[in-house]
Subunit: 570 residues, 2 copies
C-alpha cells in the first residue's frame, strides 16, 4: 500500500471503531496535524459534528454533550498547546465523572523534543486526570496496525463508559503528508462487540440494607449530583417514607410524582442553618446516592450529628466523603439499591421535616414577592420555566441560588452544573453542549465573571443552531467573595476579590447577534422573561448589587430560623 492508502485505512478503522462503540458526537478544533482524523470523521455518516475554534471552550462543549447523554463524546485537536487548552474541561470531566474520548494529534516520534514546531510532550499529557491514556503507533503498512488500534479504541471507550465514567486520552502521531484518500472505504478489521457489566451488591448486603430501611424511622435519603438515571427512584422512595433531601443536581426536585412531593425536602439549605429545629431531626441512618450536596448548612448538619450508619453509595474507590462521616462505602451503581421493600407509613420524623420545609417555603415565597435581590430574581426565573426545558447553573452564586430557591415541581426540567471541581470556567460552553445534546430550550443562570471567562463559548453558535437563554446576574465582580471572611479586610479586598471590570455585555450580544435585554427590577424581569425568544441566543442581563444581596439573604435566613425556633424550642 502507498502512504495515503494505509493512512486512510488507519483513520477509517479508527472512526468506524468509534462509531460502532455507540459514540454519536464529535467536536473538532481546526488544526493541521489532526487533518487525517478530521477528514475521516467528517466523511463518515451518522455523527453529529461540531466545531469550535477555542479548544478550551470546545472541551467544555463536548463535556456538556457527554454530561447530558452520559455517552462518550469525541474531542479532537491538533498538536501543541491546543491539547493543553483541553485540560480544564478534562479535569472537570474526571471529577464530575463524564465520559470523553479525547484525541490529540501529535508529531511522529522523530519530531518530538527536538525543537520541531508545535511539538510538545503529549504522552500522558493530562496526568492523573484521565482514566486511561495511550500513545498510538504511527500509521504503518503492517498487519498488526489495524487490529491494535481497534483493540485500544475499544478499551478507551469501554474505560470511559465504565463506572465511574470519565475522560480517556488517545494520542495519535501522524507523519506528513496528511492527506487521506476521501473515496477509499474498507476498514479491514472487524470491530469487537461489548457487554458492560453492572456493579451490584451481594445478597447479604441487600438483606441487611432492606432491614435497615424497614426498621428505622429516623432515616434520611440524600441524593446529590451525577446519578446515571433517576428512573425507579420514586417507586423506592414511596415505600421507604424517609425524607428525601434532593440536591438540585440530583434532578429529583423536577418531574416529582404528585404523591411524592411531600417526601421531597427542597428547603434543607434554609432550615438547617442556626436554629433549634436541627436538634430535633438528627438522623440515625443516612443513605446518600451521588455526590455530596452543594448545601453548606446540610454539610455542617451532617458533620455535627455523625449518624450511626451513613451509607455512601458510590461506584468509585475514590468515594466522596470530605467530612469523614461515612460508615459504609457501597461501591455499586445507585439503581441497584432502589429495591422494593414493604411499604412503610409516614412517621413523625418525616412530618417534622415536612413542616419545617413548608415554613421555609412560605418565607421564601414572601421574600420573593418583596425583595429584588439576586435570590429573588433567580427564584422568579425558576418559577417561569415551563415543562420540557433545561436549566444550567454556573458555579459560584448561581448554583447556590438554585439550591436555595429552586422549588420541587412535577414539571420535567433537568438541572445541570459543573460540580466536579466547581470551576467558573467553561460554563457557557457546557450549557451550549447540553442544549446541543437534548435539543430542548436551555436556560443558563450565570454571574458576570463566569460569563466573561467563557465568552468564547458563544463561538459555536456561529456554526450551528442553538436555543439558549442566558441570564447574567451582573454584580460587576466576584459576588461570592462578599460572603467569605476575607471580605472583612478593607484595604485590598475590592482590588483582589471584587475585581469589577465595568464591561458592558450588550457588545457581546451585538457581536454574536443575540437577543439582548437589560433588567433592573423584578417587574421588568418578569416582563422580559415573558417576551418571545427571537434569536438562537438570548442574553438577559440582570443588574444586582453585591452588598444588597448579602444583606437580604441574611435577613431571610434569620426570619426562617426565628419561626423554626418558636416551634422546636428546646
Amino acid at each position: 500500500m502507498n502512504n495515503s492508502a494505509y493512512l486512510t485505512s488507519y483513520v477509517n478503522q479508527f472512526v468506524e471503531t468509534v462509531k460502532q462503540a455507540g459514540v454519536e458526537d464529535v467536536v473538532i478544533c481546526p488544526g493541521s496535524r489532526s487533518t487525517p482524523l478530521a477528514y475521516a470523521f467528517a466523511k463518515s455518516e451518522g455523527f453529529h459534528f461540531y466545531r469550535q475554534i477555542d479548544e478550551r471552550s470546545a472541551a467544555f462543549f463536548a463535556l456538556g454533550i457527554a454530561k447530558a447523554k452520559k455517552l462518550p463524546v469525541v474531542l479532537l485537536c491538533t498538536s501543541g498547546t491546543a491539547a493543553a487548552n483541553f485540560f480544564p474541561a478534562i479535569v472537570e470531566a474526571y471529577y464530575a465523572r463524564v465520559p470523553l474520548l479525547v484525541i490529540t494529534a501529535d508529531r511522529p516520534h522523530e519530531l518530538r523534543e527536538v525543537g520541531a514546531p508545535q511539538a510538545i510532550d503529549q504522552v500522558h499529557l493530562f496526568g492523573k486526570h484521565v482514566k486511561w491514556s495511550v500513545d498510538f503507533p504511527i500509521p504503518e503498512d503492517n498487519d498488526e496496525s489495524l487490529p491494535f488500534i481497534e483493540r485500544h479504541i475499544h478499551r478507551a471507550i469501554t474505560t470511559a463508559k465504565a463506572l465511574p465514567m470519565g475522560p480517556v486520552h488517545i494520542n495519535v502521531p501522524f507523519r506528513e503528508p496528511l492527506l487521506i484518500n476521501m473515496e477509499q472505504q474498507h476498514p479491514v478489521v472487524q470491530v469487537s462487540q461489548t457487554e458492560m457489566g453492572q456493579l451490584v451488591p451481594s445478597v447479604e448486603f441487600i438483606g441487611w440494607y432492606k432491614d435497615l430501611l424497614q426498621t428505622n424511622e429516623k432515616g434520611l435519603i440524600i441524593v446529590g449530583d451525577s446519578l446515571p438515571t433517576t428512573a425507579g427512584f420514586w417507586e423506592f422512595a414511596r415505600e421507604v417514607q424517609w425524607p428525601i433531601l434532593a440536591d438540585p443536581l440530583s434532578n429529583l426536585r423536577c418531574s416529582v410524582p404528585e404523591d411524592c412531593l411531600p417526601l421531597c425536602i427542597d428547603q434543607y439549605d434554609a432550615i438547617l442553618k442556626e436554629n433549634a429545629f436541627k436538634d430535633f431531626v438528627v438522623p440515625d441512618v443516612v443513605v446518600r446516592f451521588g455526590a455530596q450536596p452543594v448545601s453548606k448548612p446540610l454539610t455542617q448538619f451532617l458533620k455535627a450529628c455523625k449518624p450511626t450508619v451513613f451509607i455512601a453509595v458510590d461506584e468509585s474507590p475514590i468515594f466522596r466523603d470530605s467530612l469523614h462521616i461515612v460508615t459504609h462505602h457501597i461501591q455499586v451503581g445507585a439503581t441497584s439499591l432502589w429495591i422494593p421493600i414493604e411499604e412503610k407509613q409516614s412517621s413523625s420524623y418525616l412530618e417534622n421535616w415536612t413542616k419545617a420545609n413548608d415554613i421555609a417555603t412560605k418565607h421564601v415565597q414572601a421574600y420573593m414577592e418583596v425583595e429584588e435581590d439576586e435570590g429573588a430574581l433567580a427564584a422568579t426565573l425558576f418559577e417561569t420555566l415551563s415543562n420540557g426545558v433545561d436549566l444550567f447553573a454556573s458555579s459560584s452564586m448561581p448554583i447556590r441560588d438554585v439550591d436555595t430557591f429552586y422549588n420541587k415541581t412535577t414539571k420535567d426540567i433537568q438541572i445541570y452544573a459543573n460540580r466536579g471541581t466547581n470551576g467558573i470556567d467553561g460554563v457557557v460552553s457546557t450549557a451550549l453542549g447540553v442544549q446541543a445534546a437534548t435539543k430542548r430550550p436551555g436556560y443558563l443562570l450565570i454571574g458576570d465573571l463566569a460569563f466573561l471567562h467563557d465568552v468564547n463559548g458563544l463561538i459555536v453558535s456561529r456554526f450551528q443552531q442553538t436555543d439558549l437563554t442566558i441570564v447574567i446576574m451582573n454584580n460587576d465582580g466576584g459576588g461570592i467573595f462578599s460572603y467569605l471572611p476575607q471580605s472583612s479586610e478593607t484595604t485590598y479586598f475590592e482590588h483582589l476579590f471584587g475585581t469589577p471590570t465595568g464591561l458592558e455585555f450588550s457588545h457581546i450580544a451585538a457581536m454574536y447577534d443575540a437577543q439582548y435585554d437589560t433588567v433592573h427590577s423584578k417587574e421588568q424581569f418578569v416582563r422580559v422573561l415573558n417576551q418571545q425568544k427571537m434569536k438562537d441566543v438570548r442574553i438577559i442581563e440582570v443588574f444586582t448589587n453585591r452588598q444588597v444581596n448579602t444583606e437580604t439573604h441574611r435577613k431571610l435566613w434569620t426570619a426562617i430560623s426565628e419561626e423554626l425556633d418558636l416551634i422546636w424550642k428546646v
Copy 2:
C-alpha cells in the same frame, strides 16, 4: 502562636523570599483559597501587581512579562481548574524557556480526593512541562516550617532562572480560616543569597572553534529565538565576516550597527526557495545560536546541504535539531562564544549572499508598492514603526509575514512571539505582558482567529494602563491552512479549516473602550497608522482575502527565484 499568626509568618516568609530573589512582578487571579498569599503579596511593597480574571490569559500575561524581562514572574491562583487554565502558557513557557514561578493554592491533605469542592489532584499538575514542582507543607507552628519553605522557594526561583530557563510550580495548601494578620511583619528566617554560575566552554573547544571561524570562508551564522541578550554579538560578527541569517526573533534585524547591515541577511526566506542560487551558497560550517529559525525554506536548505560542521549552541540537553543535521551540540550560553578573533575580510561567499539579499529586497519593495495583500500590508506596518517600540507577532501567518517582510534596520525595535510551541493561544495577553514589562509602545500583528481565541486578554486593560496597537489581519478564518496541501480537498476544507466566524470586532473594541479603525486598502492603512493614538488600546482591523494572499505570495516568490536563476544559473 495562634493559627493566624503562623499562617501570617508563613506567607510573609514566602513573599519576602520571593522578593529578595529579585522577582519584581506578580500576576494574581481572584480566588478564595489563595487569599493568604494574595494579601501577603498585596501588602508587600515594591512588586508590580497585576490582576486578570481569566487564568489562561493571566498565565500568558505573566509569560509576556517574563519573556521581556528574562526574570521569573509570580503567577498565583486558587485551587481547582483555575490552575488547569494555566497549563497552555506553562507548556509554552517550558519550550520557549521563559521563567515563571507558578503558585497554586490547594486544599489541605484532608480535603484531597474525598469529593471536597474545588479540590483536584494538584501535585505535579503540570507534569513534564515544568522544570520542578513541589507540594508545600501546610502552615504549622513549628521551627522547621519557615526554613523549609525559604530553601524551597530559593530552589524554585534558581531553577526557573538556570539555563535553560523555564517554569517551576509550587503547590501550597491552606486550611481555613484564610485570613492573615495584615499588621504582622517579621519574616523570621534570613533569606539566602545566590550566585548563579555561567555555562562556559573549555579552553580546548575555544581553540578549535576560533580556528574554525578563522579559516573557513563558507560559513554561516544562524541566530534564532530566545537569546538571553544580543549585547556583544555585532562586535563578534564584524570580525568573523560570515553572513548572519537573523531570524526576526533573534532581534538582530533591529538595532543593527550601520556598518554591519551588509552582514545581516534578512531575505533568506525568499532567496532559499526553489532556485539555482541555493546550490552556490552551500556552507561548510554553520554555527547556530538560539532556537531553530521560523523559515521553512531555510530549514529545507539546511537539511539538503548537511554542512560538514553544524554547531548548535544550546544550553539545554534537549537541544533543538529536528533535522538531525547538528554535528556539535555545544551546551553553553551563547554569549560565551562571541569571542574576539583576528578580523577577516569580506569573501565572495558573503558577497553572493548579499547580492541575492539585495535582489530579494528590491522585489519585496516593488511588491509592497503594487500589492495590497496581507504581506504587503504587514510590510507597510513594519516600515512605519518608529524607534523604541516593540512588535509582537502572533503565530500562524503573522510570524511568517514578519520573517519575510521585516527588513533589517538600525532602529531599536524588539520583536517577540510565542515560538516555544507556536500556539495561537494567549497571544493578546503575551503582547500585553511584554508591554507591561517594557513600558514601550507595543504593536501586535495578529490574525482574526488568534485575536478571538484570547480576546479575554484585554481584560487586564481594565485594571491597568497599557499602550498597545493591535493590527488584526482579518481574513475571516484560518488563513494559514490555505497554504497547506489539505486545502486541495474541496468538500470539507472550508468547514473544517477555514472556519469563518463572520464576527465583527468593532464590538470588542467598543466593549473595551479601544480606539478602532477598519482598513480595506493600503492607502487607508497608511493614513490610519499615521493618526494619533488616543486610547490605551487601539485596534486596527485590516480586511484581507485568503485566496488573494496565497496567489500574490506565490507570484513574489516566483519573480525572485527567476531573477536569481538568471544570475546563478548552473
